[in-house]
Amino acid sequence: MSEEIPYTVQPHPLTGVFNGKMGMWLFLASEVMLFGALFSSYVLLRMGATHWPSHEETHLNVPLATLNTIVLILSSVTMVMAWASLKMNQLERFRLYLGGTILLALVFLVVKYFEYSAKFSHDIFPGTSTFFAIYFTLTGLHGLHVLGGILVNSYLVLPGSRMWKTEPERFTNRIECAGLYWHFVDLVWIFLFPVLYLL
């Protein structure tokens, strides 16, 4: 019986990708549509609005958000470095970099927590205005994605990395897929940041 599923580790000779990568890109395509729909809704509501608050009026903390942007970009770099370390057969450096990614993601969420609680303490909630409805929904959904990334990466950095001993190539593939997801989360933020904080 041919029970083994082909191309779980080795790339398909014609398409040049392994299954996991294909699956991850398909997942990201659906994510593009998810965030695209929300972005589209934002444009529609903004076009229909009689008044749209400028960023002075919303009192969003731009320096803090800029810091968060840099944090997330840094975490993307450590993520790709983690993968590169595996490619160079350096498990310890991989652990260091992936640990760094998780740490930076946590910093991002902590900063987000302070941003949210500052708003709540001024009695600003999602129901306050259309702008804040969009702000909380988009950043909240993005925050959930960050949280998901932290969970997956935490699994991969410790228990998941046992696979390195038995199937190093498969493990490297996993890190590549986790990386694709993480970079996408970064990419979404790169768009959210100007749209919500600067415009």
């Binding site: 398409t15 040049g16 990708v17 990568k21 294909m22 890109w25 398909l26 395509a29 593009v32 549509m33 695209g36 729909a37 972005f39 589209s40 809704s41 444009v43 529609l44 076009m47 229909g48 960023h55 731009v62 800029t66 942007t69 840099i70 970009i73 840094l74 993307s76 770099v77 993520m79 790709v80 470095m81 590169a84 490619k87 160079m88 057969n89 990386g179 694709l180 970079h183 996408f184 970064d186 990419l187 790169i190 768009f191 940041f193 100007p194 749209v195 904080y197 600067l198 415009l199």
Partner: protein, 99 residues
């Protein structure tokens, strides 16, 4: 996609350069927002910068620059449908008298 360890070493340098570019662009986009450009121009500049940053992430961190055709075709497909989705705000503009 990178194959050997040698190639990967070269990549690392590229990653650091991309990091630098992203940081600079972040500062630029924040800086521009303080210039108080007219709304249209501000949106254009911000979105252009965001697109450049996004492309950098996609091309280098996600290795799209050296990806396979099948992934490209998938993304082209996805962006076609995304374009249809972005028609949505236009689709309400032809409605009668929105208060």
């Amino acid at each position: 996609m990178a194959g050997s360890a040698e190639e990967v070493r070269k990549h690392v340098k590229v990653y650091l350069m991309v990091l630098l570019a992203l940081a600079v662009l972040t500062v630029v986009t924040v800086g521009v927002s303080y210039l108080r450009l007219p709304t249209g121009a501000a949106i254009l500049v911000a979105l252009v910068i965001a697109s450049v940053k996004g492309s950098l992430v996609a091309c280098y961190f996600m290795h799209l620059i050296s990806e396979n055709k099948v992934i490209y075709s998938l993304l082209v497909l996805c962006f076609l449908f995304l374009a249809a989705l972005l028609l949505l705000p236009v689709a309400t503009s032809n409605h009668f008298w929105f208060r």
